[in-house]
Amino acid sequence: MNNLILTEVLDTALDIQKAYDFVANSANGAVNSFVGIVRNNHEGKSVTGLTYDLHTTLAKKAFDDICQKALELWPETKYYVAHYHGELSVGGISIIIAVSSPHRAESFEACRYIIEEIKTKAPVWKQEHYIDRKSEWLPGHSLNG
């Protein structure tokens, strides 16, 4: 998008080093990151993995828009967002967000902002797979209004 924002939808393993390398900046003294990982349980059920479904074009556009808005809220910040598309086993990385900023406070705030916005605004869906071989699409936030 520009040299301050890089967003990706990938069907290959997400790379934390790549996130760090993109946001690292000699003028910024803080890097904050969020890594989403598939866990082995949900509401008492044993989970074996997740399938992530995305509308690739609109998801990337949503990531770009969210980062752009964050950049307006916290100037002098830099952003990397990557979301996985496809099946992941327990322990797999589903999302990486990295933010750099001159000082620590805005990097924490901006990183939290990005993940919360993605959860409610980006066209991404999760299908959980359970140990009994059943699967279920998880409920979410309507994009209506």
Partner: protein, 83 residues
């Protein structure tokens, strides 16, 4: 009455109905009318989910009042839960 064709790409929990749903609606139909058509086409299953979802072209979400005048490719986006 003339009709237009809609190729509707399915996501998330709608994938159980296939990858794409092909629909025909009267020219000048609104997105809300298309949602009603989708609900009927899938025999009322997930009707609540259809109306809780949004329809989008490849650029943006289209409001329920948006009027369609020509053949179009759309996507139905159910409630989201990324991350």
């Amino acid at each position: 009455m003339s009709e237009l064709s809609i190729s509707l790409k399915l996501f998330g929990s709608f994938r159980k109905f296939g990858q794409v749903l092909n629909l025909r609606v009267p020219t000048g139909s609104t997105i809300l009318t298309v949602k009603e058509k989708i609900s009927k086409t899938i025999d009322g299953q997930e009707s609540e989910l259809v109306f809780d979802s949004v329809l989008a072209d490849n650029d943006a979400i289209l409001p329920d009042t948006h009027i369609l005048n020509e053949d179009i490719k759309l996507s139905i986006l159910p409630p989201v839960c990324g991350g």
